[in-house]
């Protein structure tokens, strides 16, 4: 069962600010959701390899050579703030 401390801890891990009201709503909803999800524990999975990619992955080789990539101006075009070719952030310590 997920409690308030768990939720707070997870919000910190996810770097996500959550208001006290949101937190109350999420707590209620997540309890119901996780309760429902718990049914997977019924399935016997001893020794079963977890499946990550559903179709077979082929080996993907390429030459290790210099190729064109995004120009600095383009890469910086969406920056909230920038100085020259750098992303600018406010002082945080």
């Amino acid at each position: 069962m997920i409690n308030e401390q768990d939720l707070e801890k997870v919000a910190v891990l996810a770097r996500l600010s959550v208001s006290p009201e949101e937190s109350q709503t999420y707590l209620k909803q997540m309890s119901a959701i996780l309760d429902y999800f718990d049914q997977v524990s019924e399935v016997k999975t001893e020794g079963v390899d977890p499946l990550v990619t559903p179709t077979q992955i082929e080996e993907f080789w390429r030459e290790d050579e210099v190729r064109e990539t995004l120009e600095a101006e383009k890469a910086l075009a969406n920056a909230p703030e920038k100085v020259g070719h750098l992303f600018k952030v406010p002082p945080v310590v």
Partner: protein, 491 residues
């Protein structure tokens, strides 16, 4: 008849024969889409350069150049796919002003084939939702009844085609996000085999499940569009090097010798009477076309929703970590209230930029991956995923195609399920397993409810066997002849 209700193939013919120019076709759809959009809200933005792009196609034709298979046809693109120079928002405040410096491979391939980008279609924020109600730009409506949802997350892509605002569109499907809205809006929607279509340049939600695919008026249109967007891409190492067949040229409604499986777990008593009748009618059609129908069992699909949501939210929590307010996307106003540390810098920007469903899923996913819970949730779900995939493989030894409902009911009303996320998740009960197993799947129109809402039927096939799936869909489409019925959105 106005050209707006014509199929992609019909439009392509008109342009090819010189009966209409690409500019005329694009202008017709642009005008209609802009006129209807205040009602339907299928588009987040329109491409200001659409007519220029169409003009270039016309010029190339005049110069006798060999044009691609989609030359001059305007398309709606889900606003989850990057379009160079054209705003791509993922329907989120986080990316409300993001202008991509490059295009998704899917978009590039469509443009190389001559298609014109008409505009960017509405969706649930970051493709998280089943009703298109989670959009920062407001909900999209179902063209068949504006009080009903179009489905989600590719709601705008489905509604745009159903309302003939675009002849065809691109959606993405992580747990049903193409098939479910196609089903709710009475159009064809295809989720390809995992690995058929490049994910490069598509805003990532759950990378082991995401696939982009076509949403169209006819099966043949979908087959053609999928031919254009499929194939290996050096930018996405999960794409397959397999040859891409010409599905659209090999369509056949003769189903002799084919075995169609009905997964008994998908025919529960939760299904509405209208849906049951429509699906049963399709079973009769495939039998009449010579297919043998057999019952199959997939006992583990009953865990489809929990496995899917455990895996999808885990992957999402990781994929969405990139939105940090540093390099692009929303940044909180720190001039007014400075952040006391780096954690607050990230947390505040993310807390303001993401909507409530996205936050809920990030929290769920982070919880499932956190130490102490990883084994019981993420790892367990991935193990059951393997067992489920093996059950599908076995089922495809006994049959060639699976046929089932897409959802238990036709489209629900706006607002009906927003307060209860679990109820909303259960919407995807028949669609998520297809993604978990990486199979191709589609929804094809099967009829209408007594209230006049569309109902689709779901088909899926073994890995990379899209052709068999398309043939069954084609047989159903030809027998039902529903493609000439469209909603009157003007009313």
């Amino acid at each position: 008849m106005s050209i707006v209700h014509q199929s992609l193939f019909e439009l392509k013919e008109l342009i090819n024969k010189g009966e209409m120019t690409a500019v005329e076709v694009t202008e017709t759809f642009l005008n209609r889409a802009q006129q209807l959009n205040p009602k339907v809200n299928a588009f987040i933005s329109f491409n200001e350069k659409a007519l220029e792009e169409a003009q270039r196609v016309d010029q190339r034709r005049q110069q006798g150049e060999d044009l691609g298979p989609l030359a001059g046809v305007p398309l709606a693109i889900k606003d989850l796919l990057c379009t160079e120079g054209l705003k791509t928002t993922a329907a989120s405040k986080m990316l409300h002003n993001f202008i991509p410096p490059y295009s998704a491979t899917v978009v590039e391939r469509l443009q190389t084939a001559g298609a014109v980008v008409l505009g960017k279609a509405n969706l649930d924020e970051f493709a998280m939702g089943s009703s298109n109600e989670n959009s920062f730009f407001g909900p999209c409506k179902n063209p068949w009844s504006l009080e009903h949802v179009p489905g989600g997350s590719s709601g705008g892509s489905a509604a745009a085609v159903a309302a003939s605002m675009a002849p065809a569109s691109i959606g993405t499907d992580t747990g049903g996000s193409i098939r479910q809205p196609a089903n709710f809006c009475g159009i064809v929607g295809v989720k390809p085999t995992y690995g058929r279509v490049s994910r490069y340049g598509i805003v990532a939600f759950a990378s082991s499940l995401d696939q982009a695919g076509p949403m169209t008026k006819t099966v043949k249109d979908s087959a053609l569009m999928l031919e254009v967007i499929s194939g290996q891409d050096p930018h996405d190492s999960t794409t397959s090097s397999r040859r891409v067949p010409r599905w659209s040229e090999a369509l056949s409604e003769n189903l002799k010798g084919l075995k169609v499986g009905l997964p008994k777990e998908y025919f529960s008593d939760q299904i509405s009477e209208d849906t049951r009748k429509a699906v049963e009618n399709c079973i009769e059609i495939v039998k009449a076309q010579g297919a043998e129908v057999t019952e199959v069992s997939l006992p583990l699909v009953k865990y489809g929703i929990p496995i899917y949501y455990l895996i999808a939210t885990s992957e999402a929590s990781s994929n969405l970590a990139r939105y940090d307010g540093v390099r692009f996307g929303h940044r909180s106003n720190f001039q007014e209230i400075p952040a006391k540390d780096l954690a607050e810098f990230y947390s505040r920007s993310r807390g303001e930029g993401f909507g409530s469903e996205v936050k809920r899923r990030i929290i769920l996913g982070t919880y499932c991956l956190s130490s102490g819970y990883y084994d019981a949730y993420y790892k367990k779900a991935s193990q059951v995923r393997r067992l489920l995939t093996e059950q599908f493989k076995k089922a495809f030894e006994a049959c060639d195609v699976l046929l089932s409902p897409v959802t238990t009911h036709p489209a629900f009303r706006l607002g009906e399920r927003v307060a209860d996320p679990l109820q909303m998740y259960l919407n995807d009960i028949y669609t998520t397993a297809t993604n978990l197993a990486g199979l191709p799947g589609m929804s094809v129109p099967a009829g209408f409810s007594q209230d006049g809402l569309p109902i689709g039927v779901q088909l899926s096939a073994a890995h990379f066997d899209e052709q068999t799936m398309f043939n069954v869909a084609y047989a159903i489409e030809q027998a039902l002849n529903l493609t000439k019925r469209w909603p009157d959105v003007q009313q």
